[in-house]
Subunit: 247 residues, 2 copies
């Protein structure tokens, strides 16, 4: 394995190497075949064709990724909410895979940095982030198969982003839930911005949440508010037992 | 493994044994956990609950099966039609998983024989066959996981039932295609009904297609016409090379 990897590494171009490294960081594993990901980030304005003359763009992969997301989220909801009927499960899945939510995910993953296009990103349309996000999921499925794709969706999407209580409207904001608990328990808390980079639509904020002068959670997102909310949610799960006992 | 199987067999009730055997025949493999399939065939009129008080009926499993079918068919179309764009793929998938088609599949699998209900089948509504069919797919996924479920869908649904040329309207009838070829090639052909059983909506027809006095294909379906069409399609694939060379 090591030898194969070495040969592979040495035959890669520098550009491929950078793409591979960035992808690996995003995926949390080594991609097998970069071509699938290249397709997922190719806008149709590039007019690319494969060796058989079929058009290459992320649009076909969107269809595939949408289907994979749909079935993984369906299985997750089915197991997680054993008393939810068909109508409930359908409604919850629609919320999770809504255009709005997928656009957020695409932005948070900053996938647009990889897109190859002959038109400027301003002309992509507002759903481009969600569309590329779906295509990215499709590429993971082609590259690694269903089981791996499912694991990725669980680790990188369901765990950090999908919160059934919140989707049901039971929890409006984890930040306010956490602040309330800190005040009740007489604990000090601070949200510290430690990272603030990128420009325009690619701007990113990193937030550290300190409770009693200890960093309890960190989060990075496209707005300060969102990063604070994600960090609060992470802290909430750290303290969940305690908070639930106090409420 | 053999010992475990023996213990399992001897501890099964006769009723479970019959259910197990019928399922095995339908699935083409041994089910692990009969409970998933029992749920897939339980109508809500039974008012069954699990040990935690959650209602048991096939409706939740329909949601799961629909999602699994959707993703397996999506991956199949994606691979099979490399020049089909997102709109084409979406349209073809809708045709394959249409209510009408799923109802046909449910009927051909004769799944209604397994349904436990306190209301008579006449009151189930016309989509019951498709609904149980989806629930059945959901049960296979729970029992055996995605990869197995995908194999089942390929072997028992896509291979015998999904025909892209026909869905595209390129082939209207395999029977007429085959007859035309037989006449051109001066081959004799007969459609022989060898099986005609069941009553009412559960009626089944078995058809053998003889070409030059040799049985080339067999098929069983809920109407004589459908069984002839399926047998013709099977024979078509046997002779495909020859037919394509002649047309």
């Amino acid at each position: 394995m090591r030898i194969i990897k070495k040969i592979f590494s040495s035959s890669r171009s520098t550009e491929d190497g950078i793409f591979f490294d960035k992808l690996e960081k995003l995926l949390g594993f080594k991609p097998n075949n970069l071509n699938h990901y290249r397709k997922a980030f190719t806008h149709r304005s590039m007019n690319k064709m494969d060796e058989k003359g079929n058009a290459i763009s992320y649009e076909r992969l969107e269809f595939l990724g949408d289907a994979m997301l749909g079935s993984v989220i369906a299985a997750h909801l089915f197991n997680k909410v054993p008393n939810g009927d068909e109508g409930y499960l359908t409604k919850m899945r629609s919320k999770i895979v809504s255009r709005e939510h997928l656009n957020e995910l695409g932005k948070d993953f900053n996938l647009i940095q990889f897109v190859e296009s002959k038109v400027s990103p301003q002309h992509f349309g507002e759903n481009v982030h969600g569309n590329i996000f779906e295509a990215f999921i499709g590429a993971i499925y082609l590259d690694k198969g269903f089981v791996f794709c499912e694991k990725f969706i669980h680790k990188k999407i369901i765990k950090p982003y999908v919160d059934i209580d919140r989707l049901e409207g039971k929890v409006i904001s984890y930040k306010s839930l956490l602040i309330e608990w800190c005040q009740k328990e007489k604990k000090s808390f601070t949200y510290e911005i430690y990272d603030d980079n990128g420009t325009g639509s690619q701007k990113f904020f990193g937030v550290k949440l300190h409770i009693d002068n200890k960093v309890i959670a960190k989060a990075r997102a496209t707005s300060k508010k969102k990063a604070e909310e994600i960090a609060s949610k992470r802290a909430y799960f750290v303290f969940q037992q305690k908070i639930d006992n106090n409420s």
